[in-house]
Amino acid sequence: MPLLELRKVKKIYKQGKIEVPALRGVDLTVEEGEFSTIFGPSGSGKTTLLNMIGCLDTPTEGEIQLNGNRISDLSKKELAMTRRYNIGFIFQSYNLIPVLTAYENVEFAIRLIGSLSEKKMRDKVLNMLEEVGLKGKENRKPNELSGGEKQRVAVARALIKEPKIILADEPTANLDSETAQDVIKNMIKMNEELGTTFIFSTHDPQIMEYARRFINLKDGTISSDKRRK
């Protein structure tokens, strides 16, 4: 059974009386452990597609199944619970909480799951920060970290709860090429070590090269879907 399945997913935004289609019937299947990129020009629907998969938005038409559960018809509360337990997000602008330290930003995500003892939780957060190369910087606040370090905190935050899938919307867009490659390599490492499924969108051909599956989105439809041989 595939981890993620989209069937004829359409999303139409209404701007007054005008209907603007963002996705025009997307069919997509993603298996567990894949490391995929969605690329395409601006306005092709990459972010809309990630939002649908990430339960942040619901399709106008079509069906989405995550881990065998139909998520396209869930209520707001059920979508929130699906995001909490199954989905990790990495955003272009990191979206860290500025008053919390790197440790606390990561801790925040695992606290929402709340199934571990204090000691295990602490060990897990520290291990995760070490995994993403932030050992010794646990107590730094976001304004004391570089862009790459901030994005690593975001990666750790997404991974800490061991979600089924991590969605990254242009995760390297705000980083210089060296830091961007560093972050993407970190994501690959996590994908290989933990088997977490990653889907990320990008414009950067250099970053794209690290993916094992390439989904090209054009005018709201998938124009090509290739796997690295």
Binding site: L56, K76, K77, A80, I87, P98, L112
Partner: protein, 411 residues
Amino acid sequence: MFSIRLGFKNLSRQKRRNIITIFVIAFAFFGYLFMESMMNGMEEMSFDNIRNFETGNIQIAHPEYWEEREEFPLENLIHWDHELEEAIGQTQGVIAASPELKFSANLNNGIDEMGVIGLGVIPEKYNKVFQTQDYFIEGSIAVLEDNKAVIGDRLAELMDLKMNDYIILLVRTKEDTFNTIDVEIGGIVRTLNPMMNTNTVLLSLNTVQQSLNVDAGVTMISLQTSEVPEKNIIQSLEGTFKDKGLSIKAYSWRESAENVIAMSAAKKSGIGAIMSVVLLIGMVGIINNIILSGLERTSEIGMMKALGMKEWEIVFVFMIEAMGIGVLGSLFGCLFGYIGVYWLVNNGFYTGAWGDMSQYGIPILDRIYGVWNYPAFSYIFILGVVVAVLSSIVPAYWAAHKDPVEAIYHR
């Protein structure tokens, strides 16, 4: 709980705005506590001054006289004799009784004339009920025995009178004929009751009774009582009067002070209005804070939603933040309030600049002292925190209700 920690940590953001809100709340609460203390102090002082200089704790009068007492009639008087004095004195709870004959008169100093209230008293008995003796600037109440008069310092100033000057009181007798009382000023008082200082002339009861031709009549008898509840004493007295076939009644000082008590009731609604304004200030401050925080943290709220936080969990974070502001605002408010009330209790608030307080019907001289009302501190603290939390709910819900996609990509 992590949300509590996050809520409190959020207080360190927008420090300037939070500090302003905290201090706005603190000063509003300070204002409330200060005003409340001053108004309660004013009430307490007014009541004390009425009891200590005008009425005693209980007054005895004919019901018909009581109804018209503001007109100072010389009808329906009480016949003051040894038997009545003994009957009153034997009533449980009565410490002392002072008969008085109150009348209206025109005071003439040879040049000017002004309306005054004359009061005939027996000095020895008067001293056991009232505190006037402690406030003599010159002379003493004993001079009444020598057919001299005692006046207030303000009256002396107004009529340009001093010790040993002679005054003429033009009065109407019981038969409505004119008569005069010529007396020398033997004492000048400055009591805490401005009415006493401004328009009262104390005379010997005998002199007044003869001048008004009322025999042994007195208008009222003022009583000093012990800790026995007033209600019980009044009941006992009225039982005694009934047994003796006397058509006189006993009245609590509160009935004499009904105007001041009415003002006190108005004061309570005034305090309520102040409280409403104070709470409104706090509410506006908190609502403003949460709305601005919600706007500034839109993308952060989006991230929280992406992490799977439910709306009420996000609302809870904002509520904790509002509670923090409420707690700090209330704490500082109580602290400033404590300092203000301490000053008011010990130094008093000088009201001389407002003129004679008696003009406004408040029997206080020139300085209002506050009183401590500790429950008001805990009350305002709890109310401040509760209002802060409650007023944060709607703006916090508004912030948490944002569409997650729009919130995340908000710039």
